[in-house]
């Protein structure tokens, strides 16, 4: 059994908690987020024949300065960057966060979830921007906490990358 500490990262109100509350196992209420500032959930994914338990640390939304909460990030094995396709600045913040993560923790695996993909009419993030990220080697997955689209893929993709990272 492999267990990995994974942090959910992204600008406020991009849907991090929604992704977890519907697709991960939780025993703690959301009030932990506003009190302790973090809530730990669990998601077990299977990569090949290997079960990987993702201990998902849902950290209260980063502020506009994108200051990392380093205490909570200590020992992180990978992270899910979440951005809202209807808010362009949420992607900018995600990129900024990623840069800071690289700066502080090196190149650890991550996956970008472009959430609220069901809000197509309000989409602000263009295909061009997405293509640019893909060209940089990012894994980008459109997700919707509302209809579940792409959510499982995000967890699987990240788990796979973390396992590969261990081997490498």
């Amino acid at each position: 059994m492999i267990q990995k500490k994974v942090c959910m990262m992204g600008y406020f109100s991009v849907g991090k908690t929604s992704l977890l509350s519907q697709y991960a196992h939780s025993i703690f209420s959301e009030k932990y987020l506003t009190t302790v500032g973090v809530k730990v959930d669990k998601k077990v994914v299977t990569i090949g024949s290997q079960d990987v338990t993702l201990m998902l640390w849902d950290i209260e939304g980063e502020d506009k300065f994108c200051k990392l909460k380093k205490h909570y990030l200590r020992g992180v094995s990978g992270y899910i960057l979440v951005a809202d396709i209807s808010r362009k600045n949420s992607l900018d913040k995600a990129i900024e966060l990623s840069d800071k993560m690289v700066e502080n923790y090196g190149n650890i695996p991550f996956t970008l979830a472009l959430n609220k993909s069901d809000l197509t009419s309000q989409r602000e993030i263009t295909d061009y921007q997405v293509k640019e990220l893909l060209n940089k080697g990012w894994d980008v997955i459109f997700t919707s906490a509302k209809n579940g689209k792409g959510v499982e893929s995000v967890f699987n993709d990240l788990a796979e990358k973390m396992l590969l990272s261990d081997v490498g």
């Binding site: 492999i2 267990q3 990995k4 703690f28 730990v40 990987v52 201990m55 909460k69 909570y72």
Partner: protein, 594 residues
């Protein structure tokens, strides 16, 4: 490669050596020179030291990575070196450990103080409670002082869960719990425990090396001990002793020693840490269980026998008191049944009180009083009695006594409808009884044949009345026979006295007759005087009849004045004379005359 040749061939040998050297130069050239340089370097101790120093750190690291052999070998040497150093000059060693010694001592004292305070607090809290008195009793029974017992009780605890957490990631390396412990998801709890520690550091800006050591919630305590790579958390129910902290530290230290390499290269694989099961299981200590086991069997048996004994005694007591109460009530009920004028139809015990139904004569005794007089107190009783007239002789006699109010000299008895009067009584009372007898329920006839009539009072009254009659004198003026209005009034009063006298005389068995005597003075002829005296007697006679005296009880006569020598004026008068005669008493109800 150097060779030694014989002396005699010294010249030739020298030539050969040179040749060989030339040959070597030709064959190996530069390499040979290098070889010579290496040889010289190896032979030079100083140079060799420099070379080894250059590679030593890498060599040690590689050895440590590959196996624990070097660590084992070095540990012995290091221990010996430290001991030798300490013996030779302890000061450098003291200086070296000084920075860590202070915090370590403070931490140990803090842990001990915290535990002691918890124990004292628990003791104080318990000292005034009902449980404290219970504990005092148990302490006395078990031969311990109260303090010893309280401390023993206060120290009861159970380590219910043990978390072994990777310090950096918060990943749960291994987890065990006692059978009765509850935990929703240890993985997530482990994560949150780590998060809470991070939260504390973040919130209060404490040093990274500091750790959250204890969480208290009700009787649940979570103690955390952090090592360089891992954190061990005990979830303790109750008040754990200081020795638990020692166990926690020792377990963590042993874990770090055994898994040092593995922890260094941790990438999330928790499988190897299942081997810590035995190590962690040793932490699931439970003092309470040991104490309970010591005395479980005898205590439970003693208690069981005590409970059985108490129940049996209670049952016996209950049965006995029920029997006594039943007997008591039966006696009370019997007294009601035996009481004249009361008829008990039913008796039952409902909602803590007796209910007695039946019938009650209005003259019967109060049933409450009957019971109180016969058996005393019986508890609450409700009487539901319907009124009725009892023909019980006692009740008939009570009714008769109430109706007739007999004098003390008369005894009443009753037999089959007959009211029997015995003793002495006045005639008047006897007559009253005879007239009223029919009004008393149960009295069909009165037998007064055994009753003696008491005439003492009557005779005295007759004498008084006779005196009044005998003293009656009515004077007339000369030649007059008529009565004035006032005189008629006097005669009317006399008539009442006469009738009363007559009636009372009858009670004595005699008959009274009243002779009215008229008198005249000496004036006129004897015939005239006779006529006047008779006329005067007659006028009184008539007046008495008019006033209600029966004619046959009266007679009159005239007396000539010649028979008198008194003053003339006193001769013109009328007087009465009472005459008594025996009569034969008629009727069965008449009593004997005394």
């Amino acid at each position: 490669m150097d060779s030694v040749q014989p002396e005699k061939k010294n010249h030739t040998s020298s030539d050969n050596t040179q040749d060989i050297a030339a040959l070597r130069e030709l064959i190996f050239g530069l390499e040979y020179q290098q070889l010579l340089a290496v040889k010289a370097r190896v032979a030079d101790k100083q140079l060799r030291t420099i070379d080894i120093a250059e590679v030593l750190p890498q060599a040690v690291k590689r050895c440590a990575d590959e196996s624990d052999d070097l660590s084992s070998e070095l540990s012995t040497i290091v221990e010996q070196a430290i001991q030798a150093s300490a013996r030779r000059n302890p000061q450098p060693l003291v200086d070296a450990i000084f920075p860590v010694l202070g915090p370590a001592i403070r931490k140990a004292i803090h842990a001990a103080m915290e535990s002691m305070l918890a124990t004292i607090n628990a003791t104080i809290e318990q000292s005034m409670s009902p449980q404290a008195y219970q504990w005092r009793f148990h302490a006395w029974r078990s031969g311990l002082t109260y303090t010893e017992y309280v401390i023993r009780r206060s120290m009861l605890y159970q380590v219910e869960q043990v978390f072994l957490i990777h310090k950096k990631t918060g990943v749960l390396l291994h987890y065990i719990q006692s059978n009765d412990a509850l935990n929703k998801d240890p993985d997530m709890v482990s994560g949150m425990l780590t998060a809470v520690q991070d939260f504390m550091r973040d919130s209060f800006q404490v040093e990274d090396a500091s750790n959250l050591e204890m969480l208290n919630f009700g009787d649940m305590t979570v103690t955390l001990e952090a090592g360089p790579k891992a954190v061990i958390a005990f979830v303790i129910r109750g008040n754990g002793p200081p020795s638990l902290r020692k166990l926690q530290i020792e377990t963590l230290e042993k874990f770090h020693v055994d898994y040092a390499v593995m922890l260094e290269n941790f990438h999330g694989d928790i499988e190897p840490y299942k081997a810590t099961e035995a190590l962690l299981e040793a932490c699931l200590v439970n003092e309470r269980k040991e104490h309970e086991d010591e005395s479980k069997a005898p205590t439970s048996m003693w208690k069981a026998w005590l409970v059985i004994g108490v129940i049996a005694a209670s049952l016996f007591y209950w049965q006995f008191t029920r029997y006594v109460e039943d007997q008591h009530w039966d006696n009370a009920l019997n007294s009601l049944v035996a009481e004249p004028g009361l008829i008990v139809v039913n008796s039952r015990y409902v909602d803590g009180q007796y209910i007695v139904t039946g019938m009650k004569d209005p003259q019967a005794k109060d049933p409450q009083v009957v019971i109180a007089d016969s058996v005393g107190e019986v508890g609450p009783v409700k009487f539901v009695f319907t009124p009725f007239m009892s023909l019980d002789p006692t009740m008939v006699l009570i009714r008769a006594r109430q109706a007739f109010k007999p004098p003390a000299s008369v005894m009443l008895s009753y037999d089959a409808g007959n009211l029997i009067l015995t003793g002495t009584a006045e005639k008047q009372w006897i007559n009253t009884v005879r007239n009223a007898a029919v009004n008393v329920m149960g009295v069909e006839a009165i037998d007064d044949s055994h009753l003696v009539i008491d005439l003492t009072t009557v005779r005295s009254e007759i004498a008084t009345l006779a005196q009044i009659i005998n003293d009656f004198i009515l004077y007339f003026k000369s030649g007059e026979v008529a009565l004035s209005h006032a005189e008629k009034e006097q005669v009317a009063v006399l008539a009442t006295t006469v009738n009363e006298h007559f009636d009372k005389v009858v009670l004595t068995g005699l008959r009274a007759h009243y002779l009215i005597k008229g008198h005249s003075d000496l004036e006129g002829s004897e015939k005239v005087r006779q006529t006047v005296s008779i006329d005067r007697a007659r006028i009184i006679y008539n007046q008495l009849i008019l006033a209600g005296v029966k004619e046959e009880r009266l007679s009159f006569s005239g007396v000539a004045a010649a028979e008198y020598s008194e003053m003339l004026s006193n001769n013109r008068r009328v007087v009465l004379e009472v005459q008594l005669t025996e009569i034969e008493i008629a009727g069965s109800g008449e009593g004997r005359i005394q």
